[in-house]
Symmetry: D3
Subunit: 285 residues, 6 copies
């Protein structure tokens, strides 16, 4: 397996229960009655995993595990790897073995690869759009329940970076928190009083006035939510060298370049995980 530090797959120990649970969901109680009843037990097949559309691949790490769990004797030979961008028609992998096993595994494997490649492809488009700027594309916690570690991985496959993995690995103070606790200053002070030294604090601001208060308090990362291009530029001037800036809100392929050119460090998008259409992948005999 070719593994760059950038794509960095989730540890197999974490992937295994997700894949197993997906298989159980599809097998139900009676298993693959179609293949078992119609195909002789000893029929051998050679199947190709093919991309029907161009895109960036992700999820092979799960698909490979699907085939292995369904039948350890299936041979999975990769032609492409997670993180690679392929043309329509590209062969991604070849799977040889009992036809029943290949067909039993087919849909679950494709569901992983289609869904995660869709996210990688959407991310890649944003990353390409901001190429040459300092901005990095990051995802959010707006992920599909149960699949967060794989979707965060798909974002990395597409060239993006990961924001928080959950509620517990960084502090992100939003407008609702400020409303409930009485303002920026008490929020920051309380967070610092209780946190250990290895967790970072990010603060969401809507206005330049809030930004200035945040900077004066020495907040490390500031999330500029739904600001216009002019405000983002002004924010960049105010914060340069004093804090990391992240822009969010209504980020689309049409607007992301302009946002990046304001000089922000990070641009976050929920759409790359929650609204990316599936990539069309298929299994051909």
């Amino acid at each position: 397996m070719i593994v760059s530090a950038r794509t960095r797959p989730p540890h197999p120990v974490l992937i295994e229960p997700i894949v197993r649970s997906a298989l159980e969901e599809d097998l139900g109680r009676a298993g693959d009655i179609t293949s078992d009843l119609t195909i002789p037990a000893d029929t051998i097949a050679c199947a190709k995993l093919v991309a029907r559309s161009a895109g960036t691949i992700s999820g092979l790490i799960a698909a490979e595990r699907v085939f292995a769990l369904v039948d350890p004797k299936l041979a999975y030979r990769p032609a492409k790897h997670d993180g690679e961008t392929v043309a329509a028609g590209a062969i991604i992998a070849v799977i040889d073995g009992h036809a029943r096993s290949v067909l039993t595994a087919e849909r679950v494997a494709l569901n992983f690869v289609g869904h995660l490649s869709g996210i990688a492809t959407a991310t890649h488009a944003f990353v390409e759009a901001v190429a040459g700027t300092r901005a990095r594309i990051v995802c959010t916690r707006k992920t599909t329940p149960g699949l967060r570690i794989l979707e965060k991985y798909a974002v990395r496959c597409g060239g993006g970076f990961n924001h928080r993995f959950g509620l517990d690995d960084a502090v992100l103070i939003k407008d609702n928190h400020l409303a409930a606790c009485g303002g920026i200053k008490p929020a920051i002070e309380r967070a610092r009083a209780g946190l250990g030294h290895m967790a970072k604090i990010e603060l969401e601001v809507d206005t330049l006035t809030q930004l200035e208060e945040a900077l004066s308090l020495g907040v490390d990362t500031i999330l500029l939510d739904n600001m216009g291009i002019d405000d983002l530029k002004r924010a960049g001037e105010l914060a340069r060298g004093r804090a990391t800036l992240e822009a969010s809100g209504s980020v689309t392929l049409a607007t992301v370049r302009a946002i990046a050119e304001t000089g922000v460090d990070y641009i976050s998008s929920g759409a790359i995980t929650h609204s990316a259409p599936s990539l069309d992948v298929a299994l051909d005999f």
Copy 2:
């Protein structure tokens, strides 16, 4: 809870582990450090679950369980129910209770509602498009791993019907099966020889010749894959009264009406589950 036979939510015993697992995924080990550290324990909040875009709602049944698991003392008061179509800005529910609890539950609840309402909304658009024809919209097994029962429910919320829930609850013989077992006749015969009497058999055909063979064998349901409008019409004439017909392949909002008007009984779409963009829902204090 208002429950029509049409929407029919999954049984709570089945939803509970999915919701619990989604919460564990977001809480990680240290929990909601932002809310716990910045907001006093006794602060009370009143939050509104709001649709930012128009759409058909689904997933409240999971969201309500998220709030209850995070804090049994939270009061969840519904204003809309799964299966209702709402305008942008509509209040869906009101949640009262400890601010920390509301914020801890927020993202997981929204992820369920956004994702499932996206599917219901996409389904509803297809259902509306074929209104007045005999065609019913059905989903496929192209679902997100781990969420099948909820996604199938979201399709029902949008007015669609469900195809197989898994590999085991019906026989669907596709081209790969035919290739591996030597043709339509042996496939049908073998399936009938091994199946009990409560499972149906569907056969995928690509040509009218195959259709005729299937009809002569008395197959109940025939999947017409990627056929043109003219072939679909001809298929309808051939099969009328002899078999149920399902059309699939490259079904879009632009083409679905014409397909429905050929007289097929069912039109299946993978896109309504695997590529529906999330509906924009938010929690406002």
Copy 3:
């Protein structure tokens, strides 16, 4: 492994957690203290799995997994396979390896084989009794909690067929449903309005009058509950070519032939799963 389409074992992914859980149940916390304390670690044994009574074998697929989980180095060599009918005294399999491991696995392996072979043997007796008629023997949902997929498999090993695997894979409208919903007609109409196209509907009737109503509504499968032989014959005449007929209620080895000769398509029995005595199998050194 010899696998006919008829016996069709449950997928290993589904068997594994059942076997593992059975082992944990027997090992408790301290494990096999008898074998570990009394037998030297390097003692080798050659054990024979033997049928003490004649019968039809089922459950080897689970037993083999028990031995493998207890000790991957145990060699399991099959002499008989699930679905085979054996004489008293027949050697079913030979297991070689560490004596401690063989003895640790013994009881759990035998519990699976004894219980499931008991079901296969009971089923086989019914199947033999109706040989030459059109009737197929089918099981019900009256199974032992937690073992349904294995017990349904045991029925197949005995030559029977499977009815529903659960509440969700077919509609079976019984007298209690009719009482609660106001009659046959509304029940059938409501089921048809909400069901997808791949699920079948079966209706239980107690009288020929109900049967006629069911036939007039085009119900596919009709369950004739506790009818006498004469009524079953009359039902067959009424329904021939219009619906599949299943007979149930007080089916015994003494009565099943006469029922089959009335011409019904299926005869269902709860007793083959819930009251079959265990087959006597043992492990001899």
Copy 4:
């Protein structure tokens, strides 16, 4: 709940996962499609749990939990309790609430009660047969995988006593152990060398010669396997006051009284757990 020390139900924390798993097994993915589609959501039912045959009841503790998990609003009112012997036709419990919920729970609840009452009834027959002798009826580890704690409970409900719950809570040295470790003396010595002081040692013997060796070594409990009545009597004379005696092997209702009258302390039977026919219980509206 009336709980005698004799029946002593398993702790609810241990029953809960077994019941939950049985429900998931029956609900599958789509749930109770028959009840949900045919019966209006607000229909109320009053159902009676009835014994169709006479017998000793067990498993209500699980059935009650089934109803509560399916719908916490169902009212379960017991008329009989686990451990009571009832006549055919006796009402065991009344359940009120939504008809859909009652029907969804019905089969799983009945499967527990039928299976466990079958074991309690079989046990009770043995217990009655030895009434007036010193012999106690005990079960073995020949139980259905996954249900041991409930089946051991059913034995107590029938008036029997429990032998080991697993491989780990007592030492039971059998012929295979002796074969593998070189005889009675080394086996007993090794067990004593490694065991803590709260675990008992039992030794299986086939002959009076072995019995004498066991007695000379001070073994506390001796299992007399497959001995004739005369040998059992002689064994009783030899062992009186020196060891506890248990008889096993080919114990039937026809032979158990004679065995008990030889004066043995315990008689163990695998058949009461692995081959007891289900008791016929039903749910009537």
Copy 5:
């Protein structure tokens, strides 16, 4: 429940499975046979949870859940809360209800409170020892497998702060990493190239030379491992205002004050979690 931001208990959703698993471990298969057999079912008891030694309390949040899971009818009335320091003999809580239930829950509840209060007490001693300095006491990943979130909580109860919760929520580059990747510079550069913006980087150094390289690279937090007091002072002078400093290695109650007075920001100790003796707590009737 009194909850300060400092002590901040783990979310109940995360505690529940740990407590349930601990109960299952103690109940085994047959449950609390001593209490069930010797005590009448209706005997009521009033038990006091008492500290036999002085210390800082932690783990009541788990103990309360133990009592509730064993018997929801038990009344748990707290007299002390997690995070409070108590004298020997102090009553911590009073539990009323069925005697059987109290005794069934006793040992598991005490095991949680004894173990976690031991950690809180050890932490508290270190925190007291450095009072008045800038140094905060932090724990490590040297925790008992399966109990990390509770042990981290116990450290907070004792007044300490938490370091990383796992391998994934911060980067901590140690000597072995440097050995494997070729030095400080490539390690820091690679980490920055792949990390998102919300994860911090800490570097372990053994010498002042390494410290200077780290400072020149702008590393935020530097772990000074096993340095003498003079080197720690010198490190403080070099790093003041440029990086956060953490001292570790051979920290004992005898040495911690001197280390703190060198001006480091954090002092980490594995011993407060892995070697703290249990606090003596008991349940008195």
Copy 6:
């Protein structure tokens, strides 16, 4: 693996889920970000597991499984085995393979070995202290939640013996039971009335008067709680040949020899499991 009957490791089927769960706890969602980001994927390491202090080793059986689960290609070569006593500096095992994998596994493996070797070492000290007397050292149920089978194993590795594994494998009647059930006689009678023949009964007494009552009732094992040396001697004289005696309460290394010399059969200590400091083990490259 060298396995003596004395150390007798828990069965792998029971260890696997504990190890897996410990790994998941440390990997969190994002895995070992430090190693994955800083170390090239193909870097090979050779690591030594070393004892920094002298002690008795336990837990290698879990550590070996940690390395195998993290990376099946890691080579684990043991130099010492569980149950061996080693000097400070001793090499325990050598692990070769990918540096990333070794470092990912390091902490979890060390946490098992450090914790369990701490218990084995503490036990061994007690065992050595009573060498030459008849007394055996036994542990209690005062173990760390979730780790009982491993901690009981560690006690065996240290030369100790195991008392009950849980509430269910022996009866131990304590003062609270006597208070709740009305005295020694009814407690013993009730226990005997309900128990099967393979479970032992132990009674805790505080005075010689209670001891005499227990002896007159034929109780097999008597726990002498917190008695002075003179009373223990007198108890030994009274009970010799009539019952097994266990001493408990305030047992320390300073007092254990004197207690053993009173002639008791068993001495139980909670401290060897709940308060043993971790043994210092490390992984050196």
